[in-house]
Amino acid sequence: MAEPVSKAAEIALASQKNAARRHQLLAMPSLLIITLFGIGPLLVILVYSFLKAAPYGGVEWKFSTDAYLNFLFQRDIFDDTLQFSPDYLFIYLRSVIFAVVTTAVCLIIGFPTAYFMATRPPEQRSWWVLLITIPFWSNLLVRTLAIMFIIRDEGVINTVLMNWHVIDKPITMLYTNFAIVLGLLYSYLPFMVLPLYSSLEKLDFRLVEAGFDLYADKRRVLWRIIIPLAKPGIVAGCLLVLIPAIGAYVTPLILGGGLHLMIGDLIAQQFGSGRNWPLGAAQALILMAAVMVALFFYVRNSSGKMHHE
């Protein structure tokens, strides 16, 4: 375009640029925090994972890939050969299974809850949201310990059941897989309900009526109309539960009694009693990489589908 740009257009363009610059400034505080406390420590972990472990914790400033090798292999004490050892992989697998089960149960319980909230009269809805956030008012550790007191052998449930003569021996619930999933479920349920609620609240219920009008019964209206339209909320809720649940630390430690090692415990051990900081750093990074790769494929898959439809 060789045409001279008019004065007015020039001013408009300049003010647009100004506005863009101002908007960048608005993002500065959060960018600063993310860089300083998010990306910075990650880089430290990355560097540590390629260093040698010092005998009493900490690191020696010598390059080494031992941490990554140790993740999959065990060095024989006598002849120094590497032998494949899937112990850590099993722990990862167990964590993923626990997290997936937790996410699934959260979704099954959370969806009807969110639907109920979204169908209340508008003036009541914020009260329900407030109720959902009540658990956040107390500390996670306290809440987890409270669960412990409820489900242990001498806990509320067993005492009541025994008094009513439903059972004559206490059911062991504490320090089992059940306890871990229960704890995770309790901790993360609000993270499932809130995004589900926000997408169901936006749902146009005339579409539900249109479904009924076009001969769909309740079940098919749910599967063909409500669930597809609530998909953004379902995806967000599942990610918000799955990712932190994989790396959960406090809940499995307290309710699992350390009998069932999970990723969080494992990594913490390396920095504590294990005194192998590079291994801990490598384990943390491997977890992060695995989650990122899974997410990448998921997002690429689902956005590709949307384009094809």
Binding site: R206, L207, E209, A210, D213, L214, A216, D217, R224, L229
Partner: protein, 366 residues
């Protein structure tokens, strides 16, 4: 009464609907409504917002259930049947197209839910796309098409399962004036081509008059009058109907004689004129006479039945409205067609006479 007659597509019998909000007073949206809608009819429920017309439509669709009364579909009482079991489809006010489906998937939805075989669904969807002239856009998402196109898809979706009755809830209200005119003609064409009974809800009297075979005028949960557009316009039974449909002059007067069944009314504005009695009634005493603006002609002062002073002249392009103040102080409006030659008509402040057309005045059933 023969309301459950098999010939009637829809027969509503003493239908009432009361809404009870929490802690609020019960509101009667429909009050003992009885209506018969014939097969292949383009039937319009007309009235201002809050008159109960949409409630009646939702009762027929099955989104709400009546508090009292019966609704028959070809003789079968459907009042308590859930919506998905009724062979009735709806075109919603805001179309309510499924945003996660394409145009074709939207149209196929009802057929799929009815469990039709795939080949039949495909053929029917294609036929529907052709009917509403949307073949090219079948693969589009519903968010990627214009309002007028969404309207066509909504029609195709509702017509695809071949409903016994099609319900239309103010489907044209979101369109601009020109598109609305086009769609009025389009709707009438679709109704003739498909032979399906249409029940159309609107608050727009012009829309109702142009498209309908019959109109039910509703107000405050009651049906005031049912009839063809001509009957409703020419013989309004009540003041509300006369006022709501078209423009009307209301003249106060008193009946002086009823010789040969033709009442003579002495108007407060002066003259005594003949006026039609309302159907099924012999009025007496003080009455209100109505007269449409186009049934009165402006003539020079001294001539015609009524005399007055021109108060206001409003130019409308095709015609001009003259507001004339009569002897008793009331306003009378006449509408004169513009031929281009009569630019020098009466102006505000001029004295003028009004000539009333013969047999045009009607007495209201007050």
């Amino acid at each position: 009464m023969g309301l459950a007659d098999n010939k009637a597509a829809i027969a509503a019998q003493n239908v009432s609907k009361v809404f009870r909000g929490a802690g609020q007073e019960a509101v009667a949206a429909l009050d003992n409504v009885s209506l018969t809608i014939n097969q292949n009819e383009f039937f319009t429920l007309l009235g201002p917002s809050g008159c109960g017309k949409t409630t009646l439509l939702r009762l027929i669709a099955g989104f709400e259930f009546p508090t009292d009364g019966h609704i028959y579909l070809y003789g079968e009482d459907i009042a308590l049947l859930p919506a998905y079991k009724r062979p009735v489809n709806t075109v919603f006010q805001n179309y309510a197209l499924f945003p996660h489906m394409t145009v074709a998937q939207n149209i196929a939805f009802g057929l799929e839910m009815l469990g039709k075989p795939k080949a039949e669904i495909d053929a029917r969807v294609l036929a529907m796309l052709k009917l509403v002239r949307m073949e090219e856009l079948s693969g589009r998402k519903t968010s990627q098409i214009s309002g007028g196109q969404q309207q066509r898809v909504a029609l195709a979706r509702a017509l695809a399962p071949k409903p016994k009755v099609l319900l239309l809830d103010e489907p044209l209200s979101a369109l601009d004036y020109k598109l609305r005119k086009e769609m009025q003609i389009e709707l009438k064409r679709l109704q003739t081509e498909t032979g399906i009974t249409f029940i159309f809800v609107t608050h727009d009297q012009e829309e109702a008059l142009t498209m309908s075979d019959r109109i039910a005028v509703m107000s405050k949960g009651k049906v005031l009058q049912v009839g063809t557009p001509h009957e409703i316009y020419d013989h309004p039974a009540e003041r509300f109907v006369a006022n709501f449909i078209g423009e009307t002059n209301f003249l106060k007067g008193e009946i002086v004689s009823s010789a040969k069944g033709v009442p003579r009314v002495k108007l407060e504005a002066g003259p005594t004129i003949s006026a039609d009695a309302p159907r099924g009634g012999q009025p007496a005493g003080k009455v209100t006479v109505v007269l449409r603006p186009e049934q009165a002609t402006l003539v020079p002062a001294g001539k015609g039945e009524l005399q007055g002073v021109v108060d206001n002249v409003v130019f409308f392009g095709t015609d001009t409205h003259f507001h004339v103040r009569l002897a008793d102080g009331s306003m009378f409006m006449t509408r004169q067609q513009n031929s281009g030659a009569n630019a020098g008509g009466p102006k505000a402040g001029d004295k003028a006479g009004i000539q009333l057309a013969a047999n045009a005045a009607r007495i209201l059933k007050d």
